[in-house]
Structures are given as C-alpha cells and as structure tokens.
Amino acid sequence: MSLARYVAVRLLLVVPTVLILYTIVFIVMRVLPGDPVQAALGVHYVPPEELEELRAKLGLDKPLYVQYFEYLAGLLRGDLGESMVFQGRSVWEDIKDKFPATLELTLAAFTVSVIIGFVTGSIAAVKGGLVDRAMRVYGIIAYTMFIPWLGLMLIYIFSVELKLLPSGGRIDPRFIPRDVTGLYIVDSIITGDLRALASALEHLVLPALTLGIVLSGAYTRIVRVHLAEALRSEYSIAYRARGLRESKVLAHALRNSMVPVVTLMGLQLALLLGGAVLTETTFSWPGLGSFLVERVMYRDYTAVQGAVVVFAVIVSLTSIIVDVVYALIDPRIRY
C-alpha cells in the first residue's frame, strides 16, 4: 500500500472516533441530569414561558435524537450553534478565533518538552549511576507537578521577583502583528515586525516552559531507558570496536531510540491538550482552553459542547500525523 493510501484509510478511521466522542459528549451534555437553560439563567426565578421560549430558540425542546443529528449536521457545516449566554455570538467563530493561540502554545510546549526530554534522558543514559537516578526522579516529579502551581511559581520568580517576563497574556496589545496565520510568532516574522516578535516571544516563554516541563518527564524516562539499551546493544559495541568516536555511537543509538519516542508523542497528545487548558487559564492565554473554562463558569452549555467537540476533532486528526510520522521513521512498519 502506498503512503497516500495509508493516509486515506487512516483519515476514514477518524470518522468513527469523532462520532464516538461526539456521542459521549452529547450524552454527557444533554442526557445527564441538569437543566442547561435553567443553569444558564442562574438561580433567580424565571417565568416558565420564558424558559420554554429560550429552549425553543436553542432547539432544546426537540426530541433528543433530533437534537443529536441536527447538531451533527451543524458540525459538518462548521456550525456549532449560538452561545447561550452571549446572545447572537456564533460558537464556531469564537472557537476559530481562539484556535491559533492554542496551536502556538502547544507547538512551543511540545518542542520544549522534547528538547528537555532528550537532553535529560541522554545525560542519564550516558552518565549512569547517580546522575541516572537523579534524572529518573526528575522524570516522575515533572509528571506529578500540578500545572497551575508550576506556572504560578515561575510567574512569582520571573515576573514578581525578577521582573523579567510578563505574568500573562499573549502579546502586548499595542504590537499585535498583521494577521496572516494567526500565530503571532510566525506572523511577526513574515511581516518583519521585530517589536511584535519580541513581545510575543516574551509572553510565550513561561507558558511554554510550564507545559513543556510537565510533559518532559515522560520523554526523559523513555529516552533514558531506550538509549541506555541502544548504547549496550551489539551494534554499539561493534561501532566502538571499529574505533568510532563515542559521539558517533551516540548519534546512531539516538536514531534508533526515536521510534518509542514517536509512540509516546501520540500518547502524550491528550496530556498536551489537557495541559494546555490548565496552562492557558494560569497565564490568561486567550486560547481554546481559556475559552472552555470561561464558558463553563458562565454555564454557556452550547459553547462548552462546541469546544469539547472541537477538541475531539483535533485529537483524532492529530493522531493521524503521529501515525504517518511513525510509518516514515520506522521502516519495519508496513502500511
């Protein structure tokens, strides 16, 4: 099978995953006890007629199966309904606006986590002994850190005490670059806007570091284990016997430890997106996660449902990328 066909088949497999997640979300949001309309209106008394009117407007008076398919049809058209709290605001438009911020943060955090993971894991595998044990402890502790806590501690050190970096936000509003991709770093480079670039980077450092550190623990562990194994393997011994420098041996061993790392990237995707929700809230980062939490607090159920469904689509689509990368780097995988 060619790679193109593999990707096509994989894309088709996204459909059931999205459907299952959508169904679960639908059950959670609409079938579980609790009246979203009453909840959205708060605790004060609202005449029953008004409740009915709002229900009818949002389509919540129809039978559940009708709602299920209507929402699904909307999802395919890119229509996630209207906000229940902010009258007339399209949920889809809001989500579209927030998406680039989340993408920028997760890409940066992902890069940070892989770099830290490779550096710490390699050091552990090469040095062994006490260093190895220390890195092992780092791997576990990094994973068990509560993201808002780590973020706020970094804010305390770098913003409050040292006054080096901003404590939140995505960019200084005066310097927002011209919109091309929505990713401020990319946009400011394309338009050659150095002030925007500096401001965007300055705001990105702490959130990316926070999320990156928490996710790095798993990479440290996996690189450490597989690299140590590769360095002990027969091909490494053979390289050394032929007088290859240790740095070259390490390069070969690292390449062979890539496969489990890519597997982990796939598994970590859920943690990356979930972590983004906590990171964004901590740093007032205006992405999908902040949007979700803000609307949870407003009890804006259509917006919450829309955001959760969009997260489901993102998870399913990104897992394809991981599979394809996997197939590309490991020649043993048949697709």
Partner: protein
C-alpha cells in the same frame, strides 16, 4: 481475628517493599499513609478552624511560628486549610478510583475473555475516550453535574474507566493462551469460574499498578477540577480552589497562598506515582500512558 488480618496485611506490604522497586513502593506508601492520617485526624492536627479567622490573625500574613503556612486574604490559617483539604482530595480520588475499577475491570475481563462484537465495540469506545484529554472530559461532566465531591468523583470515573479497562483486557488476552487456562477450558470449567477464580487473581498485580498510576493522575485531574471550582465551593477548604483564589494575591508577593496547596498536590500525586512505579517494577508490568 483482627490481629491475624492485620499481620497478614503487614506481611503482604513487607513482601511488596522488598525486592525490585521496593524503595519506591515504600516511599509511596509512606507518603500516602501520612496524608491519610492527616485527613483522618484533621480536627486534632489543624491548629485553627479552616474557615474562621483566628483571633489576632492578620490578613495575608507570611509564614510564621503561629501560622506555619501563613494566612490568606481573609485571615484564615493556610496550614489548617491544607490539613482539612486533604479530606476532600482523598475522598474524591479514592472514591473515583474504586468506581473506575468496579466498572473498568469487569468490562475488561469480559471483553478480553469472550471477544466478539461486544469486545470490538467496547474497545473502540474506550480507546476513543482514552485518547481524549481527561481534564476536558472531566470538566464537561462536572460542569453539567454541578460542584460536589461525589459529582467530581463521577467525572473522574468517566476519565479513568478506560485505563482500567484497557490494562485489564490486555492482561486477559495474555493469560487466555496460557496452558493452565486451556487446561481448565478442556476440563469444562465454566467461563465465569475461569475468569473470577483464575484470571482475575493473575491480573491483580496489573490492576494494582494501574491503581497507583491512575490515582496519581486522578489527583492532578481532581486538582484541575477544584481549581475551576467544580469540586468544592469557597470557603470550603480544598487545595485546588485555594490555589485558584491564592493566585490573585501572587502579584502582591503572597507566594505562600499558592506554594503550599500546590506542593501538597505534588507530594500526594508523587506518593501514588511512586507506589505505581515501584509495583510495576516489582511485577514487571508496563505502565500506562506515561511510558
């Protein structure tokens, strides 16, 4: 009999603490036991009530001998709030872990042993749910159900059932082809006897490892829910919620309002993670989502 049971339990613990991973298991158990004792003995350990300003206590007082973790913006003693808050997090996480186990393990046993269309359907549902960010699913469930410890436990259950299911099922698939199971089948033992009497005991170490690792994760997810006000209502003492309110005073330099609740979350999650790690080394079980 009480003494007999206790010494048997101690025997099991001693067995786990020896051998590979023993140090991690022991450290993990020690941390968990410490928090459990703190939670049980909260009224005697906490020097002040958690939601009353003690006489003479200032607002936003930094840590001192009188208030080892300082006081918050209302003058409440942070140390006392942490002590009482241990009850909330332990209650939610233990309840949710037991419920996830009660649902995930039987489903995994049946699914793995009998196979067929039910197995395929369940696997697909569980795999989809497993790939989804747990905290987001938990937020969705908890936001519909409303803030309470029980609702938070239900929300966490939805997140962790797939973990128990997948690990149990994978273990059953391994065990199913073992000669002793085939022998039992040949002798005509009924399916449920094989499952309950022979496969379940052999899958128990795996389930125990998952319990440690999933509970560590559940503590962090619970902290996230409580950070978003989906577990308790202020001024109820709750670590994540305290951290959320504390962050408003961080820019004024009141680091203690954030540091101590967060450090408690870290330490408790670390306890469960070490327990899971130690046990997985002891039983040579490969851990779940984190490598």
């Amino acid at each position: 009999m009480e003494g007999g049971l206790f010494s048997r339990l101690m025997g099991v613990v001693a067995g786990l603490v020896r051998g590979p991973g023993g140090l991690m298991t022991a450290t993990g158990l020690a941390i968990i036991t410490m928090f459990a004792l703190v939670a049980i003995a909260a009224p005697w350990i906490a020097p002040y009530p958690p939601d009353v300003r003690p006489p003479g206590a200032g607002l936003l007082e930094p840590p001192s001998l009188r208030h080892p973790f300082g006081t918050n913006d209302l003058g409440y003693d942070v140390f006392s709030r942490i002590v009482w808050g241990a009850r909330v997090v332990l209650k939610v996480v233990l309840l949710s872990s037991l419920m996830s186990m009660a649902v995930g393990v039987p489903l995994g046993l049946i699914s793995g042993y009998y196979g067929g269309p039910l197995d395929r359907l369940l696997s697909m549902v569980m795999d989809s749910l497993y790939a989804f960010p747990g905290i987001i699913m938990a937020i969705a469930v908890a936001s519909v159900l409303g803030p309470s410890t029980f609702n938070a436990a239900v929300a966490l259950m939805v997140v962790y059932v797939p973990t128990y299911y997948r690990m149990t099922r994978a273990r059953v698939l391994e065990l199913k082809n073992e000669p002793f199971i085939e022998a039992l089948q040949a002798m005509g033992a009924p399916g449920w006897v094989i499952l309950v009497r022979h496969i379940l005991p052999n899958a128990a170490p795996t389930i125990l490892v998952v319990f440690g690792l999933a509970s560590a994760d559940a503590i962090l997810t619970e902290a996230g829910l409580s950070f978003f006000g989906l577990v308790a209502v202020y001024p109820q003492p709750d670590w994540g919620l305290d951290l959320y309110y504390g962050k408003n005073y961080l820019l004024d330099g009141a680091w203690w309002l954030v540091f101590f609740p967060g450090a408690s979350i870290l330490l408790l999650a670390l306890g469960f993670a070490l327990l899971g790690e130690g046990l997985s080394e002891r039983f040579r079980v490969r851990g779940g989502s984190y490598g």
